[in-house]
């Protein structure tokens, strides 16, 4: 270790000008938490309106703005930046690097985010309101039929894309160039692997999204007709381009979550991850398949039957590598010595609920059945099982798992477990009944509904309030830990944890691995 550390700068300039991967990671995590609360607030408004049949609290236009912004803020503001923050904190520490490869770009890719979301949120106060065509913003509802806020929205998407691409290039450059000597690719922790693959996905598809919104911009302001049949265009083209981005996007969200769980389950099973190699190959297969299944979001647009068959078969195939992953996690637990601290609880919650989301995903892949499922609440239930119980639960597990390493203080275990159980119950109460109303015929994105859906919707709303409230407990636990948690100094916070991040002092000093560590056989992946 070097002996003349310079610590962080003082005051606001520390955060504005920092190039330190830990500072930037912290900012990403706090920012995404704020967005999680904001997007959650939108969800609470949605569920409050849907508590009973009839229009009670908001008008249908505002309701549509809420569903749109909830999706956009959660996907682009909460989940994606949270995993980028985690990557910033953990990847250098996991591969034995002193920092990210491109620290100044790192600062920039974070700092363009807050103003962008401020701009997006400000459209709520514009005349005509915020975007209201859904987070998938299908043309022509989002183009010729949209209010003036669509232009601001397009600009926001461009900047978010820029931020994601810069972040991804940074991760790719770091992983490829800055691994400690001896850490070959097949020795990298799985979290690093899943992020490397995710970063390639991001670099591949964010420009496609930028293309889609640029075509929208041209249609709105420059008289082109990319998405208007009247001028020789095609509204369905928008959907093809959007989902060519959108399907890999859902794996961009879930792959890092797979990585997190693959770190935590072995640690609390006190047993190495089962089938490391097959985990890497499965992740790569999922990433490849994600490029050739996009039109399964569009079974009802009237594709030729040969197209339907291709996308159905390709989509069904995804179940194979995903199944391999689930089997591997369960086998990791098999005959381990399990203990159930909060990170493990959230990981098991992830495993159970993500698997349910995977099954409904398989059901949705069957094109004829999808004609009944499509755009119903069944779909809403499905993707919340993978996005919330998948990505958000794994992110929650990650925070509990690494927080003691970050701040040198232990969180309150009882409060953590309480947070898990309330979240788990609240989540299932919210989203499990949505399978039922969806199958019974309730379309998604409606502000009011027929009477036969009333009971399950009320249940759903109560669940949502419980889940929402439990996140305040989480916030309190995090702050209490940072301010006054029990101090710990042991390097290996968890007795079963493996990996280089557990070889540095606790709390992790401002600079780590200024001298690369030596990787011996014992450190071969965790």
């Amino acid at each position: 270790m070097g002996d003349h550390h310079h610590g962080p700068a003082k005051g606001l300039s520390r955060w504005l000008f920092t190039t330190n991967h830990k500072d930037i990671g912290t900012m990403y995590l706090w920012f995404s938490f704020c967005m999680f609360i904001l997007g959650g607030t939108f969800a609470m408004i949605i569920r409050a309106e849907l508590f009973q049949p009839g229009m009670q609290l908001v008008d249908p236009e505002f309701f549509n703005q809420m569903t749109t912004l909830h999706g956009l803020v959660m996907v682009f503001g909460a989940i994606m930046p949270s995993f980028v923050g985690l990557a910033n904190w953990m990847i250098p520490m996991m591969i034995g690097a002193p920092d990210m490869a491109l620290p100044r770009m790192n600062n920039w890719s974070f700092w363009i985010l807050p103003p962008t979301f401020l701009l997006l949120a400000s459209t709520l106060f514009m005349e005509g309101g915020a975007p209201q065509a859904g987070w998938t913003f299908y043309a022509p509802l989002s183009t010729t039929y949209a209010g003036p806020s669509v232009t601001y929205f397009i600009f926001c998407i461009h900047v978010l894309g820029l931020s994601s691409i810069m972040g991804s290039i940074n991760i790719i450059a770091t992983v490829m160039n800055m691994r400690a000597p001896g850490m070959t690719y097949m020795k990298m922790p799985l979290f690093v692997w899943t992020w490397l693959i995710t970063a390639f996905l991001l670099v591949a598809v964010m420009p496609v999204l930028a293309g889609a919104v640029t075509m929208m911009l041209m249609d709105v302001h420059f008289g082109t007709s990319f998405f208007s049949a009247a001028g020789g265009g095609d509204p369905v083209l928008f959907q093809h381009v959007f989902w060519f981005f959108g399907h890999p996007e859902v794996y961009i969200i879930i792959l890092p979550a797979f990585g997190v769980v693959s770190q935590i389950i072995p640690a609390f099973s006190r047993k190495p991850l089962f089938g490391y190699d097959s985990m890497v190959y499965a992740t790569a297969s999922i990433a490849f398949l994600s490029f050739i299944v996009w039109a399964h979001h569009m079974y009802t647009v009237g594709m030729p039957v040969s197209g339907e068959l291709f996308f159905m078969y390709a989509t069904m195939l995804i179940a194979v590598p995903t199944g391999v992953k689930v089997f591997n996690w369960v086998s990791t637990m098999w005959r381990g010595a399990l203990s159930f601290e909060t990170p493990m609880l959230f990981s098991i919650g992830f495993l159970v609920l993500f698997t349910i989301g995977g099954f409904t995903g398989l059901m949705l892949s069957i094109a004829p059945a999808d004609f009944q499922y499509h755009d119903s609440y069944f779909v809403v239930a499905h993707f919340h099982y993978v996005m919330v119980a998948g990505a958000v639960f794994s992110m929650t597990a990650a925070v509990y798992y690494w927080l003691p390493k970050w701040c040198g203080r232990m969180y309150n275990e009882t409060m953590g477990k309480t947070h898990f159980w309330i979240s788990f119950i609240g989540f299932n109460l919210t989203f499990f009944p949505q399978h039922f109303v969806g199958l019974a015929g309730m379309p998604r994105r409606i502000p009011d509904y027929a009477l036969q859906f009333a009971d399950f919707n009320m249940m759903s709303s109560i669940g949502a309030f419980i889940y929402g409230a439990s996140q305040i407990l989480w916030l309190y636990n995090i702050i209490a830990t940072i301010v006054s948690g029990e101090k710990i100094t042991r390097e290996k916070v968890w007795d079963g944890a493996e990996g280089l991040e557990w070889t540095v002092p606790t709390p992790a000093p401002y600079h780590t691995f200024e001298t690369p560590p030596k990787i011996d056989a014992a450190h071969a992946h965790s």
Binding site: S228, F274, S278, G302, W334, R335, T355, A367, F371, A440
Partner: protein
């Protein structure tokens, strides 16, 4: 072997069978509140069977995986003083759980493919109906019929008061229309689905039909109801403000009833044609106009013409100004606003009546009458 799968599968099957039987029971009724409905078509039953097979396979696999997991959670706890094993790979096992699911998927793909091909067989339809999505209503046009062309709009008929919670909600709240689509039973009906503005999606679960209505394109889809009855559905693709308020009601009747209904509709259409040439009194126009207003204008312009989403009509410059300008707005709409072009939605008699009504109701006492011929001439330019 790592897993004691057999013993666990016995443990797991109990709850699985219980869950499945709950679903099966629930599906016995006409419209289930917890499960997909097999509906009233052969294709619908096949889709339902596919759904139940996949749900069943998923439930069994899920029960096995979770069974193993919970076994592990219970018996392999650190607090029981166990020593963790050290195994961490097995190529044989990995190959097995790659190949076995692949064959399960293959087995699922066969019936799915068969059903899909059947759904895509649009040939030999006995009746063609054009379905057009509008913000926020459906238009139905019957083709292949002798006599007058029958076409009409189908609007939500739930009173605004029920939506605003000032009146008690009826049994078919939000799932009722002023004029349902009427179809003959046991007849292969082909729908040609399109849209006038944004993308909509025509979905009737009981008929096992969901197809996007895309402006500028026509999608084909068919159904063949084997049972008479009233089947309800909704728009399934977000289409703006009133996406939740454009239901679909399909009335499947006997072939004779359908013929009679069609004859009546054709007669009405012929009468409208005759009415086009007539001249009406102010009272006649006001009565007709009020009905047209309540169906088409009220939601945005208010029951007393006080405005809302749309501009106020009571005392407005348009309704008390130049007739030509007023007609122009009614027929062509106001681009860039929620005010649609009603020229293609209302016939000339209804258009004349509603414009007259707007100019003479809500305290607007212009005293002028607009005749169908005026509308016709305005459209001609």
């Amino acid at each position: 072997m790592i897993f004691k799968a057999k013993r666990l599968s016995k443990l797991a099957l109990g709850p699985v069978l219980l869950l499945m039987s709950v679903f099966a029971l629930a599906a016995g009724g006409e419209v289930s509140e917890v499960n997909m409905s097999p509906g009233v078509t052969e294709v619908g039953h096949k889709i339902y069977d596919l759904h139940m097979i996949i749900l069943g396979i998923s439930t069994v696999i899920g029960a096995l995986v979770f069974g193993v997991m919970f076994y592990s959670i219970y018996y392999h706890r650190k607090s029981r003083g166990v020593t963790p094993a050290t195994f961490h790979e097995s190529t044989k096992v990995e190959i097995a759980w790659t190949i076995v699911p692949f064959f399960i998927l293959l087995a699922m793909a066969v019936p799915a493919t068969k059903t899909l091909l059947e759904i895509y067989d649009n040939d030999n339809a006995e009746l063609d109906v054009i379905v057009t999505g509008y913000q926020w209503k459906w238009k139905y046009e019957y083709l292949n019929e002798n006599g007058e062309n029958v076409s009409f709009f189908s609007n939500l008929s739930t009173p605004q008061g029920e939506i605003d919670n000032t009146e008690a909600k009826g049994e078919y709240y939000l799932l009722e229309v002023d004029e349902p689509l009427v179809l003959p039973v046991d007849t292969k009906v082909r729908f040609l689905v399109t849209a006038n503005d944004v993308i909509h999606s025509w979905w009737v679960p009981q008929l096992a039909v969901k197809r996007d209505a895309i402006p500028g394109f026509i999608n084909e889809v068919w159904t063949k109801a084997t049972k008479e009855g009233v089947y309800r559905g909704q728009c399934a693709e977000l289409c703006g403000r009133n996406h939740g308020f454009m239901p679909i009601v399909v009335n499947v009747v006997s072939k004779e009833e359908y013929r009679d209904w069609l004859a009546v509709k054709q007669k009405e259409a012929a009468e409208i044609k005759e009415l086009m040439a007539q001249t009406f009194t102010l009272d006649e126009l006001m009565t007709r106009g009020e009905a047209v207003y309540n169906t088409n204008c009220l939601a945005c312009h208010g029951a007393q013409g006080e405005g809302g989403v749309g501009a106020a009509i009571a005392g407005s410059a348009v309704a008390t100004g130049d007739v030509g300008h007023h007609l122009d707005i009614g027929i062509n709409g106001v681009p860039g606003t929620a005010m649609q072009a009603f020229g293609g939605q209302l016939n000339d008699v209804d258009m004349a009546a509603v414009i007259t009504y707007q100019r003479n109701a809500f305290g607007n006492n212009m005293g002028d009458t607009i005749q169908p011929i005026d509308v016709y001439n305005h459209k001609k330019g």
